[in-house]
Symmetry: C2
Subunit: 113 residues, 2 copies
DNA sequence: GTAACTACTTACCGTGGGGTAACTACTATA
DNA sequence: TATAGTAGTTACCCCACGGTAAGTAGTTAC
C-alpha cells in the first residue's frame, strides 16, 4: 500500500461519514434554508416548497441528533418553535457554497446544452 | 417576495439539481477515487472496498450520462477499460475538498466526542 | 361554536435503491 | 484441461426512503 492508495482510502472513509449525515432528499435543503436565518416549522415548510410535514419533522430530528441544528421552544402563546444552525451547522457554509457554485456550473454545462 | 426569500428559493433549486446528480451511496466515492487518477473497473472495485460490481457498473453509467466521467475502451488483449474524469468531473474537486474538510471537522466535533 | 393557525404525529402504502449470488464471454497461463 | 484474470450482466429480494391523508392538541379570531 503506497502513499497515494493510503490517502485515497482515508478520503473515501471521510466521504462516507459525510454522506451518512447529508444523505437524502431534504437535509441539505433544510440546512441551506437555515443559512438565511433562524426559521420556524411553518416557514421551512413554505420555503422548501414540496416537503411534507412528516419528512420535515423527521429530518429536523436527524439534523438535531447530528448537532447540525438546534430546536428552541418559546413558551409564548401560541407556542413557537425556532430552528437554527449550531456552530457545526454554520461550518457547512463553505461546503454549501461550493455545492451552489458547482451546481451553477453544472447547469450551464449539462442541463442547458 | 423580498430579495432574501428570492435568493433562498433560487439556491434551493440549485441544490436540488446537484443532489439529483450526486445522490446515493456511491457516486461521490467513485468521483473521489478518480481524482487520484484514471482507473480501471477492477481498481475501482478494490479501492471502494464494499461496492458490488452491479452497483459500480450502474453508477459509472449514470456518471457517464451526466458527463462527469468518461469510459475509454482499449482494444488490447485482454480488453482493458479505463474510467477518467471529464473537465466537468474535475470541476468537482473544490466541492470534494470542502466535503473532506468539513468531514474531518465533523469527525472531530461529533463522532469522537 | 366553529374555523383557522400553531406544530407536529400516526397510519398506511409503493417504489426503487441497494444487496447477494450466480452467470457470461474472452484470454492467458500452468 | 482447468484455473485465474479481464469487465461486466442478470435474477432475485428486502427494506427504508419518501409520499399521502388524516388526526392531535392548544390558542386565537370571527
Amino acid at each position: 500500500m503506497n502513499q497515494k492508495t493510503h490517502s485515497c482510502q482515508l478520503k473515501l472513509r471521510v466521504s462516507r461519514d459525510v454522506l451518512e449525515v447529508i444523505q437524502g432528499k431534504w437535509r441539505l435543503p433544510i440546512v441551506l434554508a437555515l443559512t438565511f436565518g433562524n426559521k420556524r416549522f411553518g416557514e421551512l415548510q413554505r420555503d422548501i416548497a414540496d416537503i411534507s410535514p412528516k419528512m420535515l419533522s423527521q429530518e429536523l430530528k436527524a439534523l438535531e441528533e447530528n448537532k447540525i441544528i438546534t430546536r428552541t421552544l418559546y413558551d409564548s402563546m401560541p407556542v413557537v418553535v425556532e430552528y437554527s444552525l449550531t456552530p457545526l451547522g454554520h461550518s457547512m457554509k463553505k461546503l454549501l457554497d461550493e455545492i451552489l457554485i458547482w451546481g451553477a456550473h453544472f447547469r450551464k454545462e449539462v442541463i442547458k446544452s
